[in-house]
């Protein structure tokens, strides 16, 4: 009997829908053709069979088509059995009916101009539907429901609604005070005022940015194998600010795609262009530049097409699209817009400034800038002093130049030779005593030669002492056989730097070390010298010599040779070199030069303090070619920047660059941008877009469930100057949104995804908001907005297993409030994104992603139960229950329940939790250590005033609540 009733009701509904007078091409025919026929009879000429094309109206044989799809003969039936396509009897009938009616085509719905549908009139609705209508959204939804003879769900309780809307608009739960205030507010506009408060919250921008970051493939590392850091968080901050200030979406588009090309572009507008520098960068040794440059530009084309136009351009990279009217040429013409960035394909950049790959800009940092300016002034002054001093020495220089070639003081051998033999120990030290004559001693020469056989060893140290005093030596210049930049490794008092020496029989090697302060000896004096060497293989002899007399004649062979050169044959550079060699012996010069060096270093390190961010910029046009089969090394014909032919043309007044492209995308005549964008915001609020395939508005994408509503919203969005907050407000103040999310089993089965919108939205929270929610209710959340990414708790050992590279293979968690920032600020390493993010379906952020899947896995349960984040958050909630929840266990449990689920428990729920509490209390009382260690999890301080047993029991309650499906759902 029951079945019969249903069948009867539905018979009517079905007739209304299917047996309409005319077959609707876009809704009924194109999906069948696209799914079953276009692959061989569609837009791609490369795949086309029998020269037959079914995607456009041309004179093909209508009757033959019908015959072949109904054919019983496996040789002639279409689609052929090997194609793995299944066409149902109903679908065959639809095609037949369509042919009988003249086989008329319509433009694919998404390419047709956006209509201005009239809002269904109230009087058309039954009274039961009319209650629902709060704004035009409801009118469209009600009309659709009515056509299916469905009724909407009753409104959700106020407390359910405020939790839903708060999580949707700011990604955080409402506070108990906000819940209470809303319940108490009986005014006509109580709902609207909550929405306005939330739209004005600085956390609104953080919530809205998360989906945009997925679309823009934002991450903190370059991706691919090496996956080192980059700096692009200022762009993320820009996005948050743009949403918060309700920047119109057309401006939002133009600034991100082409802010740098706007007249007198501001720093902010340049920062916005980081959108298209979010793609990955390959730094792997050995990659080919052109190959990856092609990758980056293709990524920009595909991302732009997906985000603004809902089109799958990745297909057209290698061939014409198989389903949609886009050609391979369209792809490369789009690429030409993005091809003129002064960038490289290989991501190893010599520029050390904060490791960013050019082009990038520095942020405004007035304090640092003024510090730099001060340093620069000082630098200028010091350079002036140095120049003046140099000039004053010109006469001395001239004399020195004459003397240098001839007046080289001789090396005087001193002391005994020192023999060193290989030892059992790897490292050995050997010393000698040298008797120095009276007078000025500037340097020592150390010469080493093998005794019998070629010898090799590692020399890591030298120390020179006079009695107890250490005489500091520095690398000396001379015609020494070891270059100064080698000698520096033994005089630097660092054993880890060393020189590998191998010396052949019959030859020798020597090194010069100079005294930092030349020794002024009134009497002959004894000094001791000690050498540290490793891994000596055969015996060697060391001999020593000193250089007496003024150190200024201690110059390199090269300098001596230069000095011998006639003055008029020296280049300016050589002259400078000589001057420097001469002046370096003057203390005043050395001091000035040293302070110039340190000023330069100070300026550089101040520069390094200024955050940078990747941006787009435009250089002269690079040639762009169609790449055959998408291969970077197989260029075909040359193409120029252009938009796809099937869409309205790029206006004559628009430049053929990114700015023109961006303006074209937000032109009121563009059929896609407004539809795709409102659909994405709809998806954000209702869980599923009006077009479920929010990334694909093409023939293979799904049709809108409410086409008129989609067009109404798109049109309103366009005409409201792309006002995002207005759109969000309209959605969340609708009665459609306000419905209860309850549904019967059978109703669920019929419309599991709630496509007809006969109930309120209910989804699991996104990964970011699950953690933010827990931090917020525990009181641990840091509400700071913006800034560089931070590193919260993370399983130890994970980076070590997967990654490589010094500085990149260890995860160092942050401290203090860095552990409690909102998840949008969590450091995002592409090769190893935070495991809790991945567990809850966040993408890798390697490519544009416009829709996250929602899975339900045991790893999620393990994360929520055992991640210190949630253990600590549960303790935080426990503390709040004790402090703020009144004096009785029941009132405390009720308060914790309210904090986490934004409602009070039912009697049954309270009963379960109360008995748990009593059990836990006695359990922990018998095992006080367990309570102590449980409460020690996390780095936040434990309030010593609280009773650990009570707190542990309440922490147990909080853990239970935080693990409920309801806690992580909205």
């Amino acid at each position: 009997m029951f079945r019969l009733c249903i069948a009867l009701t539905l018979g009517i509904a079905a007739i209304q829908c299917v047996a309409a007078d005319r077959v609707d091409f876009n809704r009924q025919v194109r999906p069948i053709l696209s799914e079953n026929c276009f692959q061989c009879h569609g837009p791609d000429p490369g795949q086309r069979k029998a020269d037959l094309r079914l995607d456009i109206p041309n004179p093909w044989d209508r009757n033959a088509m019908v015959e072949r799809i109904f054919s019983q003969d496996s040789e002639s039936v279409m689609p052929p059995p090997h194609a793995n396509k299944k066409i149902s009897d109903t679908q065959r009938d639809v095609l037949k009916q369509w042919v009988e009616q003249g086989a008329e085509y319509e433009t694919h719905w998404a390419f047709a101009p956006i209509a201005r549908p009239a809002v269904p009139c109230d009087s058309e609705l039954h009274s039961e539907h009319r209650v629902l209508v709060n704004n035009p959204i409801d009118a469209f939804v009600a009309a659709k429901l009515r056509s299916h003879e469905w009724t909407p769900a009753p409104p959700a309780a106020k407390i359910s609604w405020i939790r839903r809307v708060t999580l949707d608009l700011i990604g955080l739960p409402p506070t108990p005070q906000e819940v209470q205030a809303f319940q108490d507010d009986q005014s006509e506009f109580s709902y609207e005022s909550v929405v306005d408060r939330l739209l004005g919250s600085p956390h609104y921008g953080e919530r809205m940015a998360v989906d945009w970051l997925d679309a823009a493939r934002y991450a903190d590392t370059n991706g691919y194998q090496v996956d080192r850091n980059r700096e692009l968080w200022p762009w993320r901050d820009w996005v948050i600010r743009a949403f918060n200030s309700n920047m119109p979406f057309d401006q939002f588009t133009i600034e991100q795609l082409a802010g740098d090309l706007l007249p007198n572009a501001t720093l902010e507008q340049k920062i916005a262009t980081g959108f298209h520098r979010n793609h990955m960068l390959n730094e792997e040794g050995g990659i080919i530049d052109a190959e990856f440059l092609a990758e980056y530009t293709a990524d920009r084309v595909e991302t732009t097409a997906a985000v603004w136009m809902g089109q799958t351009f990745n297909c057209t990279r290698c061939h014409d699209h198989k389903y949609d009217p886009f050609t391979q040429r369209d792809f490369y013409a789009m690429k030409a817009f993005f091809h003129n960035v002064p960038e490289r394909g290989v991501g190893i950049y010599a520029n050390p400034v904060r490791r960013n790959a050019p082009p990038f800009v520095q942020l405004a940092a007035p304090e640092i800038q003024s510090k730099i300016q001060g340093l620069q002034e000082k630098l200028g002054l010091t350079i002036g002093q140095l120049d003046a001093f140099s000039k004053s020495m010109d006469a001395d220089l001239a004399k020195w130049l004459q003397d240098v070639p001839t007046k080289l003081p001789p090396w005087q051998a001193v002391g005994q030779s020192l023999e060193i033999k290989p030892s059992q120990e790897k490292t050995q030290k050997a010393g000698a005593t040298l008797q120095l004559p009276a007078g000025v001693v500037a340097a020592l020469k150390l010469e080493v030669a093998p005794v019998l056989e070629n010898a090799s060893f590692r020399w890591n140290e030298i120390s020179v002492t006079q009695g107890d005093k250490t005489l500091k030596v520095v690398e000396g210049v001379d015609r020494g056989s070891l270059a100064p930049n080698e000698v520096i490794k033994v005089v630097d008092a660092n054993r880890k730097t060393n020189i590998d020496i191998s010396v052949k029989k019959g030859s020798s090697i020597h090194a010069i070390v100079a005294f930092e302060q030349p020794l002024q000896l009134s009497d002959p004096t004894e000094i001791a010298i000690e050498l540290g060497i490793e891994s000596l293989d055969h015996e060697v002899t060391w001999r020593f010599a000193t250089l007496e007399g003024p150190a200024e004649f201690l110059v390199s062979t090269q300098t001596a040779n230069l000095a011998s050169k006639p003055a008029n044959e020296r280049t300016a550079n050589e002259q400078l070199q000589l001057q420097k060699a001469f002046l370096s012996h003057r203390a005043q010069y050395r001091e000035l030069a040293a302070s110039i060096e340190s000023l330069k270093k100070a300026i550089q390190s101040a520069e390094d303090e200024i955050p940078t961010t990747l941006v787009m910029s435009e250089m002269e046009t690079r040639k762009t070619f169609v790449l055959l089969r998408g291969a970077y090394d197989r260029p075909g014909e040359e193409v120029f920047a252009a938009t796809p032919a099937v869409l309205p043309p790029l206006g004559d007044g628009l430049p053929r660059n990114r700015l023109g492209l961006a303006s074209w995308l937000v032109d009121p005549a563009h059929p896609l941008t407004a539809r795709v964008t409102v659909n994405r915001f709809w998806q954000q609020v209702f869980g599923t877009g009006l077009v479920r395939t929010s990334e694909d508005f093409g023939a293979q994408g799904e049709l809108p469930s409410h086409p008129e509503l989609l067009d109404f919203l798109a049109n309103m969005f366009r005409e409201s100057q792309w006002d995002v907050k207005r759109l969000m407000r309209m959605m969340v103040t609708s009665s459609t949104y306000r419905q209860h999310s309850q549904a019967s089993h059978s109703w669920r089965e019929l419309d599991g995804e709630n496509r007809l919108l006969a109930r309120g939205p209910r989804q699991r929270l996104m990964a970011e908001f699950i953690r933010d929610h827990a931090l917020a209710v525990s009181g641990l959340l840091s509400t700071d907005i913006g800034g560089p990414s931070v590193r919260p708790y993370h399983p130890t050992g994970l980076y070590e297993q997967v990654t490589a590279g010094t500085g990149y293979n260890v995860y160092e968690p942050g401290t203090g409030k860095d552990l409690y920032r909102r998840s949008i600020y969590t450091y995002w390493k592409r090769s190893v994104p935070h495991p809790a993010m991945l567990a809850f379906d966040a993408p890798f952020r390697e490519f544009c992603s416009m829709r996250r899947t929602q899975s339900n896995t045991p790893l999620q349960a393990l994360n929520l139960m055992n991640d210190p984040t949630y253990v600590e958050a549960a303790r935080g909630v426990g503390e709040r229950m004790l402090r703020e929840g009144g004096d009785s266990p029941e009132s405390r449990i009720r308060y914790g329940f309210l904090l986490i689920l934004s409602r009070y428990p039912t009697d049954r729920e309270l009963q379960i939790l109360s008995s748990t509490y009593r059990r836990a209390l006695s359990d922990f009382d018998n095992d006080r250590t367990a309570a102590t260690v449980l409460l020690s999890v996390g780095s936040s301080k434990l309030d010593p005033a609280l009773d650990p047993i009570e707190l542990a029991a309440l922490t147990t309650i909080a853990t239970t609540l935080l693990n409920l499906d309801e806690a992580i759902s909205k």
């Binding site: 249903i6 509904a13 829908c17 299917v18 009924q28 109903t90 299916h148 909407p152 009753p154 194998q225 996956d227 040794g285 050995g286 990659i287 080919i288 799958t312 297909c315 290989v346 090394d633 395939t693 990334e695 469930s705 309850q742 549904a743 109703w747 669920r748 019929l750 419309d751 995804e753 209910r762 699991r764 399983p795 050992g797 994970l798 297993q801 997967v802 293979n809 090769s831 994104p833 991945l838 390697e846 339900n856 896995t857 045991p858 790893l859 349960a861 393990l862 139960m865 055992n866 049954r908 729920e909 748990t916 836990a920 359990d923 367990a930 449980l934 147990t956 239970t960 693990n963 499906d965």
Partner: protein, 479 residues
């Protein structure tokens, strides 16, 4: 309850012409107990009794040299330090690491080869243990790829595409065949680092990721240490009984919500918490090797008692296989010998040869090699010419995509068989090329899956592991 009228599902769909039912709707309505992916059952499975029930993929990350291990080229001795003829090198693009090299001097293998088994298969002296299984191994000498750098090549090997975003092989299998064990994930990945001081290339979580497939199909990484699976252990102070009590409360409270909202996601969450709880005991039990007999450790070699080594992971692989885990993927890093190759490869073989053979032995002894497909290989091969300085006993080799060697064993694979032939320089394929797509198609075939039918609709297109390529190489299979 509200007064929604009830529609028949097909009629509703008719009304919403063009709105396709979601996958979730399909999957959500079937009992969780059904372990085979119901939508694919009967569609993609072409064999009712597949040869392979599970796969153990021994991934050698960094690219082992075929010239020192499998592709015996005695003729190269005479070519020592002679330039690789241009005619051989052809137009092969070079990596940035050797494209600046002035010469491409041929480096003969410093490692000796011997014949093994009844088939007389030539194998390297560095593989004495694996060589004992020569008659079980099907050696493919002509695998080839397009990628010449690690990340794209490893991604291609794992997902059938050079760039990220697609599901790993294991994720496809998990999606297609589901799990045989309700306490463990269907796809498990384990990583080991080399014991020697060699260049261990980084990996990427996406290599065992689920790409566009729902994340429940992603590989779960097992590691050594306190938590073999991330977040597995209870926090301090929470005993097993406290956890059980908390889970009972969670289940009861979730059940109340379910009875009111009827959202199947709530029921699924209750089930997932139960599975998490079962994993909390199943995984430590699995990872606990203390009950393995001492001869097992002897067989797997000296490293097998150190947690996290390749040898220890091989024992775990066998234990996972015993417990019905569908796809077990090991990664051993450190095969990237651009220099000091003879020394580096010795050390890598020390790490891997004995444990690999012990795994084959164990599977065979337990009768499991008959339905377990074992694959051993890396992401590409190495060049015949030396990178850097060449002497008789020391040299390096750069990346080489045109031919390299992998082997398969077990489940329906033709043992003691060598497939494919390379030229005298192991540079080009002379006969019987096998692309990675062909290898994947063949492996899926052994699992009973037609690789052209295991598809998933994403962005309007039906994707598959083998993209639009791949042929089952029948010659590799037992008749």
């Amino acid at each position: 309850m509200t007064t929604n009228r009830v529609l028949n599902i097909d009629q509703l769909r008719n009304c919403l012409t063009g709105i396709r039912p979601s996958r979730r709707q399909f999957l959500g309505s079937v009992a969780l107990a059904s372990l085979m992916n119901p939508e694919l059952h009967g569609k993609a499975l072409v064999q009712p009794t597949p040869k392979a029930k599970r796969v153990i993929w021994l991934t050698q990350a960094g690219a082992p040299s075929q010239l020192e291990l499998f592709d015996y080229k005695p003729g190269l001795e005479e070519q020592f330090d002679k330039d690789l003829p241009d005619s051989v090198r052809g137009e092969q693009r070079l990596t940035g690491m050797t494209s600046g090299q002035k010469r491409f001097p041929v480096a003969p293998s410093a490692i000796k080869f011997q014949q093994h088994g009844q088939s007389g298969m030539w194998l390297s002296e560095l593989l004495p243990y694996t060589a004992k299984f020569a008659d079980d191994i099907c050696l493919i000498k002509t695998l080839h790829t397009e990628a010449i750098n690690h990340d794209p090549a490893m991604t291609l090997l794992q997902t059938g595409h050079q760039f990220g975003g697609r599901p790993a092989f294991g994720a496809w299998v998990s999606y297609g065949l589901g799990s045989e064990n309700t306490d463990l994930p269907a796809f498990v990945a384990m990583i080991s680092r080399p014991s020697g001081p060699t260049n261990a290339q980084p990996l990427h979580e996406r290599m065992w990721g689920s790409g566009f497939l729902p994340s429940k199909f992603q590989g779960v990484r097992f590691s050594s240490g306190k938590d073999p699976v991330l977040y597995l252990s209870n926090p301090p102070g929470i005993t097993e009984s406290r956890r059980r009590a908390m889970l009972d409360d969670v289940a009861n409270l979730n059940a109340i919500a379910y009875s009111e909202l009827h959202d199947p996601e709530i029921q699924a969450r209750i089930d997932q918490y139960e599975m998490a709880y079962r994993m909390q005991s199943a995984v430590p039990e699995l990872a606990d090797l203390s009950n393995e007999s001492s001869y097992v450790f002897e067989n797997y070699g000296p490293e097998s008692k150190k947690p996290g080594t390749y040898a220890a992971n091989c024992i775990l692989a066998r234990r996972l296989a015993e417990r019905g885990v569908r796809f077990i993927q090991l990664y051993h890093r450190g095969w990237d010998q651009h220099n000091d190759l003879p020394k580096g490869i010795r050390s890598q073989c020390y790490d891997t040869d004995q444990p690999t053979a012990a795994l084959l032995f164990d599977l065979k002894q337990r009768g499991m090699l008959d339905d377990t497909l074992v694959i051993w290989g890396g992401e590409f091969g190495r060049t015949v010419y030396s990178q850097g300085v060449l002497t008789r006993d020391n040299y390096g080799r750069d990346h080489h995509p045109r031919c390299y060697s992998v082997w398969m064993a077990g489940a329906g694979v033709r043992g003691g068989f060598v497939y494919g032939e390379t030229d005298d320089f192991s540079y080009n394929i002379v006969r019987d090329a096998v692309h990675i797509h062909d290898l994947n198609a063949t492996a899926l075939h052994l699992l009973g899956i037609d690789h052209t039918r295991l598809t998933y609709r994403f962005q309007g297109r039906d994707y598959r592991l083998t993209d639009v390529h791949g042929n089952v190489v029948k010659e590799l299979l037992n008749a």
